[in-house]
Symmetry: C2
Subunit: 204 residues, 2 copies
DNA sequence: ACGGCTTCATTCGCCTACAAACGATGCGTG
DNA sequence: CACGCATCGTTTGTAGGCGAATGAAGCCGT
């Protein structure tokens, strides 16, 4: 029977809006139903497993709003990144990290690599590779620090400068589009709540 | 002159709370000041560049609240991921992606790989590698679909089951800790705003 | 039943991404 | 001046991460 074919289509979370606290249980109910409908064989074992999962989740249902908030943080971050990569970065063969690094150098003009890594939120080792890629495309200059041969200074080439001048307005416009469904107060509230999360985790 | 040594320490964004709309200009002012203090040589060129950057940013200052919200989404997502990796996942040699994949399989019991990739928010190709890693550790079973030889079904081994039973409560506790500075209403509001962003970008 | 079309998972090349190890450089003290 | 120690950036090894290409498998119209 084709019970595994048509009815096995799961609720795609990237399209299903129902993952807040109230709806999470409903979503899980749909999950169990779909799973029960999907299995075909060994009904008892899978049903027992699903039952056990339900008991586990119900035992921790008090933190459902936390789960909803956290999982949405991650999904939103990925959505923003993917959207910007497609609409702004991909036409110029730039990755997200490459863009962030360019942006940091653009803002600071001339900056040591360790500071670029800290500002961009990547490790030193990662920056070495990104910097090499950007330099090979003629976007970034690499100069040894005149006073300390251990350090390296990065700056944009004229080509990099003109690219940033062209891309930054588009990037900013996409940022504005992403939060376009929220009014100014909601945007500030969102930023404030997220900052509270960051402080809580990174120390503050 | 040690002007490049002590005074070149930039405001570390991972620790500086000042990146909301009001403070962003202040942060940039500090940036320009630090840059001007840092350069030592070719003062005019760098100052002219900074001046040009200031003009560009001021011309787009209207979207500052959007920038603050978006950048905080990304920082918060990274903070959550790093925190959970350190506190819960690293002791068991699990990566974030590996955890998410395990979680999806745990919830759905038996699920096709394409659905796992969709639920976990990764590509099919990435899942192939992650699945291989998890299978090599005896956490995941891989079975060809009985009715369609193209598809592959994933499920947890008993070892994987017991690992999830142990780790999920800890994971959930860390999620709750991350948003612990917000009350329930703020958590739901945060989830709702983020969901609005996701809908806006992924279609809805 | 046979030819195209679709839909899977996998593979490939390239690029992050991090921790740890490494080598080079600078600094401070004896 | 020379020794140890701290601080850089880079390298190494392992694991994600994606798009595009690949090949196997099913579907469907003729």
């Amino acid at each position: 029977m084709a019970s595994t074919e048509g009815s096995s289509h799961l609720c795609d979370p990237s399209r299903c809006p129902c993952d807040d606290a109230e709806c999470a249980l409903g979503r899980y109910a749909r999950a169990t139903a779909a799973a029960a409908d999907r299995q075909g064989l060994d009904t008892r074992t899978l049903a027992a497993t699903e039952q056990a999962v339900a008991e586990r989740l119900q035992g921790l249902a008090l933190n459902m709003s936390a789960t909803a908030a956290i999982s949405n943080i991650y999904r939103a971050a990925n959505a923003v990144r993917n959207h910007v990569e497609r609409t702004v970065l991909a036409p110029h063969d730039l990755t997200w990290t490459g863009w962030v690094v360019l942006w940091v150098i653009w803002i600071w003009g001339r900056i040591e690599t360790r500071h670029v890594a800290a500002e961009a939120g990547i490790s030193k080792g990662t920056l070495t590779g990104v910097q090499k890629t950007l330099a090979s495309r003629g976007l970034v200059n690499r100069v040894v620090h005149p006073d300390d041969a251990r350090r390296v200074l990065l700056s944009l080439t004229p080509h990099g400068e003109s690219l940033m001048a062209e891309l930054f307005p588009r990037f900013n416009a996409e940022e504005a589009f992403a939060v376009g469904a929220l009014d100014d107060a909601a945007q500030l509230q969102l930023a404030r709540s997220l900052r509270a999360v960051v402080h809580r985790l990174e120390g503050g």
